[in-house]
Amino acid sequence: TFFLNISSIPPWFVIPDVTKSAWDIFQNLSGCHAGDKIDGISKLKNYFNEFGYIPTSPANFTDDFDDALESAIKTYQKNFNLNETGQLDNDTLQQIIKPRCGNADIVNGSTTMNSGKTSSYNTTIAHFHTVGH
């Protein structure tokens, strides 16, 4: 559907929850951490698999909050400038449910987003000074 401008959108489009994204179900996972087993975690694993954070794709992901998921969350948090807790805190969930580009962040295990950079590179940049001339 195309709208010429914002004022041409019918009022019912601005009512919250009329149409929810499939990713809104992740809101129920708030506070989850390693060792938990909760319905919906398998869908979150599919999400991280789709965008390259969990490289392998078994026939069916389990609902276990395992090491692979914790690692994926930490990498995601690093890429999106969030605190690297490995837990599904509110800031992380709010980022996850945002609409986004369908292209993967990590392609064939490789990325040059934050998680693909070495600490030595960042250290070099942090101490690099320039002078206007």
Binding site: T1, F2, L4, I6, V18, S21, W23, C101, M113, K117
Partner: protein, 197 residues
């Protein structure tokens, strides 16, 4: 900024690229104009040109709105979720989710509670992929992966400009100004191409 693995780009002998819209979408001139403006954002800073043609099958860049599974292995998922995707050069495939509520002009910020998405913002981002840029961690950059509904972001950040100019060089007419500033975020993937500062 980031590049796709192997740093693919359009060949040096293809500086004048053509684009076309999927005929079945029957897009209006207003919608097509959004893409024209999006291409200009990039052609301002690099020596590439983008010209619309009628022939979808022969165009270098092929733009289409699709719903659900559309045969490329990356099905769309309805309203919100994934909005669009594009393939690395020289594929030229540029797909948008036909289930979204696209706004094609004007300020969208007053409607942040809706499912409306600014089309030009997404178009500028996807063209970055078509040209060879991957996702960036710089939140102000065009190539940041997410965009909230009710948000409009169409101006290239310095991060985007630095990245795309490593691939193609600078447009001779580009005066070097950018609307936003950001920090250079990354190195390339095993790329022998030198970084020029």
């Amino acid at each position: 900024y980031a590049f796709f693995p192997g740093t693919p780009r359009w060949p040096a002998n293809m500086l004048d690229l053509t684009y076309a819209f999927l005929p079945g979408n029957s897009l209006t001139d207003d919608v097509k104009a959004v893409f024209s403006r999006a291409f200009v954002k990039w052609s301002t800073v690099i020596p590439l040109t983008f010209t619309e043609i009628d022939s979808y099958s022969t165009a270098d860049i092929r733009i289409g709105f699709f719903v659900g599974d559309h045969g490329d292995g990356e099905p769309f998922d309805g309203v919100l979720g994934t909005l669009a995707h594009a393939f690395s050069p020289p594929s030229g495939r540029f797909h948008l989710d036909g289930d979204e509520n696209w706004v094609i002009s004007g300020d969208i910020s007053s409607n942040s509670g809706s499912t409306a998405i600014d089309l030009e913002s997404v178009a500028v981002h996807e063209i970055g992929h078509v040209l060879g840029l991957g996702h960036s961690s710089v939140e102000d950059s065009i190539m940041y992966p997410t965009i909230s509904s009710g948000t409009r972001k169409v101006e290239l950040a310095s991060d985007d400009i630095e990245g795309i100019q490593i691939l193609y060089g600078s447009n001779p007419n580009y005066n070097g100004s950018s609307s936003t500033t950001s920090t250079n975020q990354s190195d390339t993937n095993d790329c022998s191409r030198p970084h020029v500062i």
